[in-house]
């Protein structure tokens, strides 16, 4: 039996940010299986110190280009929690709708542009423009609806302009919402085709028992705020997030890592689904079942399917919310903000998992301390442990080098890591 191999992938492609994979197997024994994070840090937690509170969401949104809406909303919630501001029901729902649309665009970007090429045997989506024009057109169509929605509600698809502490600077045009609703209804057909496409892809047969961490749903599938939960039975309050993340530094990573009941845990779509299956829209739940995806699923490659299920959930939920907006009169877009001394924490489910922002303000409303814990940061240790297990299984199964290399990359990609975000 095999095997000896020495795989080095520097700057794994089709992921956000910079990470390396090293796998060394000698005579069937794994000598090394490493996930390295080499991204340059930007020091957001330092750069905010001394700044006025209104800088926080505007600057922290820039932690990530892909989930800038999630970061902005987490930042806003942390500031509001510190100042004792409770958003109006309209603001709460509009923020959720905006978040849904970011989730949809991010998941579709990942499913089609980053994950699918592995199953269609190409290096990128670009050759698919010629070989699978309908697939690319469909991906572009869904992404476009979601991105247009972010423009309509948040003012801009990347680094939103209308989202502020207290609410929104202005409200979306109702005619545009009406059109958006119709386009989302049409998108459901495209999502069903997406499901067919992914059903034709073989999900790698791999499993490793994992603890999954997410928000805990309270009547609805959770996205913004609430209690924290793990599949190992841990429960915490939002403000006690540090007890959930237990960050530590590792030599080969510029991002901090995290752990809870075990050496590592996972966050993301699969974690959310594992913890909150009952709160999924029935149609999304049915889709999940049809893929054999039920809690608690321990195959990290199933995160792709969990993303697909969430696409259906957020789209259907958005259609309902838009109908409610269309039937109601608009209230005031925002409430007045009075800053005060104190601390505020926010936990928000962004596409790649649970995100925490925490700030402390002095009496003048200036930031004295800032902490952000990023989903991918929480996933790094789990990626590391999965990678080791994958290498061990590959060694004992006698997989070929190229196969191991592809599987390792696919494993990392299935987490949809946002590495620059995790280093921030």
């Amino acid at each position: 039996m095999n095997i000896s191999c020495n795989i080095k992938i520097n700057h794994v492609s089709r992921v956000e940010g910079h990470g390396n994979i090293h796998i060394k197997i000698k005579g069937g024994k794994v000598m090394e299986a490493q996930w390295e994070v080499v991204e340059t840090p930007r020091f957001f937690e330092a750069m905010l110190v001394g700044k006025q509170w209104d800088n926080a969401p505007w600057i922290c949104g820039r932690i990530c280009g892909i989930c800038s809406i999630g970061h902005t909303l987490a930042s806003i919630r942390a500031v509001e929690n510190a100042f004792g501001i409770v958003p109006s029901e309209q603001t709460r729902k509009l923020r959720l709708l905006l978040k849904h649309m970011e989730t949809l665009q991010s998941h579709i970007l990942h499913l089609y542009f980053l994950a699918a090429p592995d199953f269609l045997n190409t290096g990128s989506v670009f050759p698919l423009i010629k070989s699978h024009p309908d697939v690319v057109a469909r991906a572009a169509r869904i992404k476009l609806v979601a991105n247009d929605a972010c423009d309509i509600i948040g003012g801009r698809r990347i680094h939103p302009t209308r989202t502020v502490v207290g609410g929104f600077t202005m409200l979306p045009d109702k005619c545009m919402l009406e059109t958006l609703k119709r386009r989302l209804e049409d998108a459901m057909t495209d999502l069903h085709r997406t499901a067919e496409l992914f059903r034709s892809f073989p999900v790698p047969d791999f499993m490793r028992e994992t603890e999954f961490v997410s928000l805990r749903g309270n009547g609805e599938y959770p996205f913004i705020g609430g209690d924290l939960v793990s599949t190992d039975g841990v429960r915490r309050k939002e403000q006690d997030y540090e007890k959930m993340t237990n960050e530590y530094t590792v030599d080969r990573s510029t991002a901090k890592w995290a752990r809870l009941s075990r050496d590592s845990f996972a966050v993301g779509s699969l974690a959310r689904l594992n913890n909150n299956f009952a709160f999924l829209h029935p149609a999304a739940r049915e889709l999940s079942e049809s893929f054999g995806l039920r809690p608690v699923n321990h195959n990290p490659f199933m995160n792709n399917i969990a993303q697909l299920v969430e696409c259906v959930h957020v789209t259907l939920d958005s259609i309902t919310m838009i109908s409610e907006f269309l039937d109601a009169e608009w209230d005031e877009p925002r409430q007045a903000v009075k800053h005060k001394k104190g601390k505020g924490v926010a936990a928000v489910e962004v596409p790649r998992g649970i995100l925490y922002h925490s700030y402390e303000f002095d009496r003048a409303g200036k930031i004295v301390r800032c902490d952000c814990v990023i989903p991918t940061g929480q996933n790094h240790a789990n990626i590391q442990h999965d990678l080791r297990e994958l290498a061990a299984q590959s060694a004992s199964m006698g997989r070929k080098d190229a196969e191991i290399e592809l599987l390792a990359e696919m494993l990392v990609r299935s987490y949809d890591p946002c590495i620059s975000c995790s280093v921030h």
């Binding site: 956000e16 800088n55 600057i59 280009g65 980053l114 169509r141 992404k143 476009l144 990347i158 620059s420």
Partner: protein, 273 residues
């Protein structure tokens, strides 16, 4: 349909590569976010390297689009290699043009404190965030945080067609007024529109959010103008400095304003004595 000819002349599809340094990758994403026109846009170019989207890589390219600022020695080295290969090097976004939000850490003039604040005693490598042009010559800048996709498309089309690329010299206010937006000063909110270079179609004021100057100063902008706006509308120097220093394009302005307020404070103190 791929554009193969322009005005009857066969088009040369230049080989282009995308690179990122210290950044949020939002500017690159803006390119992928062009769903409606992405395919036409891509038909103008031959993308040979775009790590965020493709596995293949090539060192043979004519135009390099570079996102992000330079904050580590290995980044400076990599950028120099890119410069030596590319005929045209384009700085894409505020991080690449001015240092972007990354340069906010420079204002402490104390990297040791910055590192300690985030990583404690864990050893971490970082330098002051620099724009690309502090390391290599840059041929073209595309401003914005993020860049505006329509503008990127226009600029790239002009590049491919060999036309010159000109940025507006006038400020954001011109675009804002042309769009009939409510002026934020009327709503009591600060806005750097009067001094910021246009080209974004008054993106933020169009959503009732003041401009934070992500595109850097317009040609005629000056510090006195900023101070008189600030005094007229009774905004604190701090409020204006927060905006001026956010993306790095107004660094000198922010510093001048800081100095000025520091001296006027000491003057006031002295007068009070």
């Amino acid at each position: 349909m791929p554009v193969e000819k322009y005005l009857g002349v066969p088009l040369h599809r230049p080989k282009v590569a995308f690179f990122e340094f210290t950044a949020c990758e939002g500017c690159q994403l803006q390119i992928l976010n062009n769903e409606a026109t992405l395919l036409d846009f891509l038909s103008l170019l031959e993308v040979v390297t775009f790590r965020e989207a493709m596995k293949e890589r090539s060192d043979d390219y004519e135009i390099a689009f570079v996102e992000g600022s330079i904050t580590r020695a290995d980044e400076a080295r990599r950028l120099k290699v890119i410069r030596s290969k590319a005929k045209i090097l384009v700085a894409m976004g505020s991080c690449a043009c001015f240092g972007g939000v990354n340069q906010l850490k420079n204002r402490f003039n104390n990297l040791a404190w910055v590192k300690e604040q985030v990583y404690g005693t864990f050893p971490i490598e970082t330098e002051e965030a620099r724009p690309l042009e502090d390391v290599v010559p840059v041929d073209l800048k595309i401003y914005g945080c993020p860049v505006k996709k329509e503008e990127v498309e226009k600029i790239v089309t002009n590049l491919v067609l060999g036309k010159s690329v000109n940025h507006p010299k006038y400020p954001v206010c011109m675009e804002c007024m042309a769009n009939d937006n409510i002026c934020l000063y009327k709503l009591g909110e600060p806005c750097l529109g009067p001094v910021t270079r246009a080209g974004c179609d008054a993106w933020c004021p169009g959503s009732r959010r003041g401009c934070w100057g992500c595109r850097g100063p317009a040609d005629a902008a000056n510090v006195d103008q900023i101070i008189s706006i600030m005094d007229e509308h009774k905004f604190s120097a701090e409020t204006i400095i927060d905006r001026l220093e956010c993306f790095g394009g107004f660094r000198e302005f922010a510093e001048a304003l800081k100095k000025k307020t520091a001296t006027s404070k000491t003057k006031k103190k002295r007068a009070g004595k």
